[in-house]
């Protein structure tokens, strides 16, 4: 983004701060939307304040990486709820999360970033995964299959039950699939934390592997990976789909409803970034009774783990997830279901004390499938 384009976007914010709450009418309920602003309180943590910080950086008025600067810039999940609300009110066209990613990129150029995020980049360099794990997630693979499952770092190393469930679904439905022999991190965490220079090698490797696989469709259980492939990778001539999209178009999977009352949590990358709201709900309705939470779809409350927040500001990440768990309980749900390994990991951790169950859509589908 050019400097003038960024400044123009900044100059279009009139500080109405409607971006910080969900639509008030017609239900007339005061429901916050900005986790960062709500948790930290200072104006710097709301979108209008962050834009002023960006302006001062571009104009050279902020000249050192203070603790407040790093926190205001990086303790934001880039969830995009502010942008969705602003767009609805003002038809603004420049995405706030994209601006905040630009801001991070600008800071990284100056060497102003968090050690935690630097460490993640180091781990990726060493191990090709964001968690620095040296072991391999084992999965069988059918050479030459049309479908390739891109597992992602988090489902491989932190919430493997999601990957396990997806693979079992393929098996139960007799769908031949491949997994990459040497899957590397997609680069999402680097892009979201402003470390864009380190992504090139990862991208090239993954593209090469996918091309060589001959697969026609790549399935993702991680919306972060899917979004990165959609927005930050060149067109590879293959179809990119989220697991929920893939399952929806299979039609009747002959699933058995579980008798659970659940709520669906929209992952930010899947919903606000990719516009995929219906398919996860459609799949979920096949296997459970779905209740509504107050903040859903474009105005869903973020789980709190994205944008590098979980690794750097875990107290804030867990608080945000805790708010979502409360909302799920208020809706009278037995379980909270998402469609993202990042969401599941953070929500599950926050839910431990509350006794609320947390699942990914594919886990419930797997349970409901016979065989």
């Amino acid at each position: 983004m050019e400097r003038e384009e960024i400044l123009s976007a900044i100059y279009h914010c009139v500080k109405c701060k409607l971006c910080s709450i969900s639509s008030f009418h017609p239900n007339e309920e005061w429901l916050p939307l900005c986790p960062s602003g709500r948790f930290y309180g200072y104006q710097a943590f709301y979108a209008p304040g962050k834009l002023e910080i960006f302006r001062e950086i571009l104009e050279g008025e902020i000249s050192e990486p203070t603790e407040g600067l790093l926190k205001a810039v990086y303790a934001c999940t880039l969830c995009g709820a502010c942008y969705e609300k602003c767009k609805q009110i003002t038809s603004v066209e420049i995405s706030l999360p994209e601006l905040f990613e630009e801001l991070r990129e600008e800071l990284v150029k100056k060497g102003w970033f968090l050690d935690t995020h630097k460490n993640i980049a180091e781990k990726i360099k060493e191990t090709r995964n964001a968690y620095g794990e040296n072991y391999k997630y084992e999965a069988k693979s059918f050479y030459g299959a049309d479908v390739l499952y891109f597992i992602g770092c988090t489902a491989r190393y932190r919430v493997p039950e999601i990957a396990d469930a997806m693979l079992k679904i393929f098996d139960k439905l007799a769908i031949k699939y491949q997994v990459m022999e040497d899957e590397w991190c997609c680069g999402s965490v680097l892009l979201r934390t402003g470390q864009v220079g380190d992504v090139k090698e990862l991208r090239e490797h993954n593209i090469e592997e996918i091309k060589n696989s001959g697969a026609k469709t790549v399935v993702f259980t991680c919306p972060g990976c899917l979004m990165t492939f959609e927005k930050n990778y060149p067109d590879m001539g293959v179809e990119l789909v989220h697991s929920s999209q893939f399952l929806t178009r299979l039609g009747d999977m002959k699933v058995k409803k579980q008798g659970m009352e659940v709520v669906y949590h929209d992952p930010c990358h899947l919903g606000r970034d990719l516009g995929i709201y219906e398919e996860p709900r459609a799949v979920l309705k096949e296997v459970a009774d779905v209740k509504e939470m107050k903040r859903e779809r474009e105005q869903a409350w973020c789980c709190g783990s994205g944008g590098g927040v979980k690794s750097a500001f875990d107290d804030f990440a867990l608080w945000s997830a805790g708010e979502r768990i409360k909302e799920a309980k208020e809706a009278g749900a037995d379980a909270l279901v998402s469609a993202c390994p990042f969401c599941k990991r953070n929500l599950r951790e926050a839910a431990e004390k509350e006794g609320t169950e947390v699942y990914d859509v594919v886990e419930l589908v797997n349970r409901s499938l016979e065989g």
Partner: protein, 473 residues
């Protein structure tokens, strides 16, 4: 001040705990501008402090007073016209957003008592179960109830609410003394504005800075009725509807009345950009009738009759538009902020004056804007009559919606202001909506000895000039 920065922050942190006071340049930068940056340049406060209660406010003020450091109170962060932008180096930004308690909703008294961090949205959420609502400004419902009322009445979305919504409040003065106005000073019943001598609630309100920090305010609430009907009537000019609006106001028939042009506020009132507004008559009167059953029917019948003889035509808008206007008028403004999306920023001169000058104000607005090179398409208008209509009281807004990133346009607007402030004062107004820096200086030149009294009054209350210093005297 005679201390190092870090020592001073430590003193502030000792009052509000460490996490709630800072001199971090990035945190301070986030408070440096509002939408009025073409007129009030960006300026960072040196410190931001977030007190949790009245006692913390008091201690911060006493410390600032001792050190002669300017203090800028700030409530929920939706500020306009540079009101919370520091003038001087080394200022304290007193962010009151943590003080967001609704102290009391009293349906029996039809009142609400709130702290500064309570927004209109927060308050309505709690009052509506009693079929009561606050008087809403046509500003985002994210704004502070207390501050909007304290700054001086509001231009409310419901004409029926009248102009003054403040009953009483408590205010911490720079020397740490706490004063209470109206019946609040005498008893635990803060429900009456007058009765202890002068109207102190009025005297402390509506200064270009503030006199102190208001920590709690009791305001009027208004009834919500189930029976409602909305009309949109189109007019080709700003003069024709005057008689019609006068009739409605004189007979107290409509709850909400707005006369707007067809290209700006109407889009928010209807809740969509996607309509052929350009095909409508140039001005549209938006009328909402409400009331108890038979009273409502009688009012509606009379309104219908006045519409027939208004000289305008009833517009056949979708039901959804009518519903949005109801929500915006009686439930807080949200969609009306769509005007911010017209070209990115807005400039307005908000003033009070009589309805009979509505046509003249518009002519003047158009003339001055065109003179300084502002395109005709950017010129917009908003009239909001207010009961009980003595003096034909209306709130007028002379609006220009423009691209805020266009710096040359900023110069045109400054030219516009220089001419227009004087011209409006010459034509005759009741007063400005907000006495902000820039508009107030040419005004006080015209008010004679009152200016001297005002100045001395502030000197007594705030001898060290710490309350938002530099905004006027």
């Amino acid at each position: 001040m005679n201390q190092t920065v870090s020592e001073f922050v430590k003193e502030l942190q000792a009052i509000v705990v460490e996490e709630n006071a800072t001199d971090d340049p990035a945190i301070c930068a986030s408070y440096s501008r509002d939408q009025h940056w073409h007129f009030v340049p960006a300026k960072n406060p040196a410190y931001v402090v977030r007190p949790a209660n009245k006692e913390e406010v008091r201690q911060v003020l006493m410390l600032a007073n001792k050190e002669k450091i300017p203090v800028i109170p700030y409530s929920t962060g939706i500020n306009v016209r540079g009101l919370t932008i520091p003038v001087h180096e080394g200022s304290i930004l007193l962010d009151l957003s943590r003080m967001d308690r609704i102290v009391e909703i009293n349906p029996e008294m039809k009142t609400a008592t709130v702290e500064p961090g309570v927004t209109f949205g927060m308050l309505l959420e709690k009052t509506r179960k009693y079929k009561l609502r606050p008087a809403f400004p046509d500003a985002p419902l994210t704004v502070s109830v207390l501050v909007n009322y304290y700054l001086r009445g509001i231009y409310q979305t419901a004409a029926a609410d009248g102009h003054d919504h403040v009953l009483s409040y408590e205010m911490v003065l720079p020397n740490g003394e706490v004063i209470k106005t109206g019946s609040r000073s005498l008893s635990e019943m803060p429900y009456f504005r007058y009765g202890v001598g002068p109207d102190f609630a009025g005297v402390f309100c509506a200064h270009p800075g503030t006199c102190g920090v208001v920590t709690e305010l009791t305001a009027k609430l208004y009834r919500l009725y189930d029976n409602r009907k909305v009309y949109f009537i189109g007019f080709d000019d700003a003069n024709t509807p005057i008689n019609f609006l006068h009739n409605l106001m004189h007979d107290e028939l409509a709850a909400s009345i707005r006369l707007v042009d067809n290209q700006s506020w109407l889009k928010g009132i209807c809740g969509t950009f996607d309509y052929e507004y350009e095909k409508l008559p140039k001005f549209v009167a938006c009328i909402l009738v409400e009331g108890l059953d038979e009273i409502f029917e009688a009012k509606d019948k009379l309104v219908s009759e006045y519409i027939k003889e208004s000289g305008g035509g009833v517009l056949d808008f979708p039901e959804e538009f009518k519903r949005t206007f109801e929500e915006e008028s009686l439930g807080g403004a949200e969609k009306s902020c769509m005007v911010f999306g017209l070209r990115g920023n807005y400039h307005c001169i908000g003033l009070y004056g009589p309805l009979k000058l509505a046509g003249k104000y518009y002519e003047l607005h158009e003339r001055t804007a065109l003179e300084v090179g502002i395109p005709e398409a950017y010129i917009h208008y908003y009239v909001n009559p207010i009961y009980s209509f003595h003096g034909q009281l209306c709130y007028f807004e002379l609006d220009i919606f423009y691209d805020g990133s266009d710096l040359e346009f900023g110069e045109k607007l400054r030219n516009y202001n220089r001419k227009q402030f004087q011209r409006l004062l010459d034509l005759g107004i009741y007063g400005w909506f907000r006495p902000y820096a820039g508009i107030i200086e040419p005004t006080v030149e015209r008010i004679g000895y009152l200016a001297e009294v005002w100045k001395r009054f502030l000197k007594v209350l705030d001898p060290n000039k710490i309350m938002n210093r530099g905004k006027l005297f």
